[in-house]
């Protein structure tokens, strides 16, 4: 199932080929990140059928807008996964994109050694392990606030209401959580300082 022409390409080359209409580049992108994208959608939606829809929309979004991709704003992986998350939240909450705050594309984690498949896999595995450890290190209420916002699409005001704590407390938990995660990941060289 691997595509020969695009296999092992660096991200800028994949983007250029996508913009040129290369199906092989899209297949390569799917082979690299399709599993992760689907996992994010299932995590948000808890429904494999709707997760497939969300992932398809995200890939087609990249397919249709590859020419406008700006690598300075984030990696292709970040663009894809942010798109999957946003579309999954839309399905989940039954809202159209303009009615809520869409996550914006941001400069991503430092991604190193991504040219060869084995090293890409190892690198991704290390990143995932570090992120899970980082999330696991957070106090329960901070992790809960981040997960409700990111994976369930709730606003800080909604989180305050459902957990019955003041809005300021929720803001503080989110800030503390992201600062701790940032520090943890920086310490492992996964986020640029």
């Amino acid at each position: 199932m691997e595509s020969d022409a695009a296999e092992g390409l660096a991200e800028p080359d994949i983007v250029a080929q996508l913009a040129a209409g290369s199906q092989e580049a899209l297949a390569e992108l799917y082979d690299r990140y399709g599993r992760l994208a689907y996992s994010v959608a299932v995590r948000v939606l808890g429904d494999p059928g709707r997760a497939e829809d969300a992932v398809q929309e995200a890939f087609l979004n990249i397919w249709n807008h590859a020419a406008s991709f700006d690598g300075r704003r984030g990696s292709l992986r970040t663009w894809l996964l942010t798109s999957v998350r946003n579309r999954s939240i839309d399905y989940l909450r039954g809202r159209s994109g303009h009615e809520r705050q869409e996550l914006e594309l941001r400069p991503a984690l430092a991604e190193v050694g991504l040219r060869s498949d084995p090293w890409r896999e190892v690198s991704l595995s290390l990143e995932r392990s570090a992120v899970r450890d980082a999330m696991g290190s957070l106090p329960v209420e901070q992790r809960q606030a981040v997960e409700l916002a990111y994976f369930a699409g709730y606003s800080h005001r909604e989180i305050a209401e459902m957990t019955n704590v003041p809005l300021g407390t929720v803001k503080g938990r989110i800030r503390l959580a992201l600062e701790k995660l940032s520090s943890y990941l920086q310490g492992r060289g996964l986020v640029d300082v």
């Binding site: 199932m1 040129a20 209409g21 199906q23 899209l26 799917y30 399709g34 599993r35 992760l36 689907y38 996992s39 994010v40 299932v42 995590r43 939606l45 494999p48 497939e52 829809d53 398809q56 087609l60 397919w63 249709n64 807008h65 020419a67 942010t82 999957v84 989940l92 809520r100 705050q101 869409e102 996550l103 941001r106 400069p107 991503a108 984690l109 992120v131 899970r132 450890d133 999330m135 696991g136 809960q144 990111y150 994976f151 699409g153 606003s155 800080h156 005001r157 209401e161 459902m162 019955n164 300021g168 803001k171 503080g172 992201l178 600062e179 995660l181 990941l185 996964l190 986020v191 640029d192």
Partner: protein, 248 residues
């Protein structure tokens, strides 16, 4: 609190996509103009981009790859597809009521007894209390508790039923680690004893997990958890649950 302090307190939530719609533009304008908040947003934004890596990996069905490539072939890059994709769903299999059991699965009658006992114990004691008293009356939030037994005796779960949203959040704690390839599967049980699958998960290294159940709990009497074959779980439980409770 100054205007800057007020806005600065929401920068992390803005980065996380968690501010209200009417706050988005105000915060963006401030962040663009404020070097301190811009640096914070940039730094925390890199961290937010890592959050998808926290999920447990699940292998997508093989058809998804072909489905995407086929849809892409129907449109040229730069031309936005107008319609949302349609999911090809397999016919939903009929399941027998959990209380009646299935051939060769003797756990189900036992579960029915256990569920009845739990129901009797829980009603009137921990039937769930309303949290979030500030929430609108039209969108009540009701909490229930699941308790572990036998091998899951140390496990607990709090179910937060967001009735107005048609979803529920479940906060699991104290769960034992699973054998490789196994997952915990959540079941919603009707009054007739039929268990409907409601999601799978793997707890973190602390035995905790916060799970979103993206369906309404209306019409269900209990929630239960079993250990099943991963990564997708099973359409019907293969063992008697040892973590369960009544839904309010």
């Amino acid at each position: 609190m100054s205007d800057h302090e007020e806005l600065e307190s929401s920068v992390a939530a803005w980065v996380l996509g968690a501010v209200e719609a009417d706050e988005v533009d105000i915060l963006r304008t401030h962040i663009d103009a404020c070097p301190t908040c811009r640096e914070t947003a940039l730094r925390l934004g890199r961290t937010v981009s890592a959050l998808p890596l926290e999920v447990e990996e699940i292998t997508p069905p093989a058809r998804l790859r072909e489905r995407i490539l086929t849809a892409a072939a129907a449109t040229s890059p730069g031309r936005v597809a107008s319609a949302r994709p349609r999911t090809i769903r397999e016919p939903r299999r009929m399941r027998k009521p959990w209380v009646q059991g299935a051939p060769g699965r003797g756990v189900f009658p036992a579960l029915a007894v256990a569920a009845t006992v739990v129901l009797a114990i829980l009603v009137g004691f921990v039937a769930g209390d309303v949290i979030g008293r500030g929430a609108p009356a039209s969108a009540p939030v009701v909490r229930s508790t699941l308790a572990g037994h036998d091998s899951l005796a140390g496990a607990t779960a709090t179910v937060i039923d967001l009735k107005g949203e048609g979803v529920a959040l479940v906060d699991f704690n104290g769960l034992p680690q699973l054998d490789s390839g196994r997952v915990y599967e959540i079941w919603l049980i009707t009054a007739a004893g039929r268990p409907d699958p409601a999601g799978v998960f793997v707890p973190d290294s602390n035995g905790s997990k916060f799970v979103l159940v993206s369906r309404s709990l209306a019409g269900y009497r209990q929630m239960a958890v079993t250990s099943e074959e991963g990564p997708a779980g099973t359409p019907a439980p293969t063992q008697q649950p040892q973590l369960y409770g009544n839904l309010s």
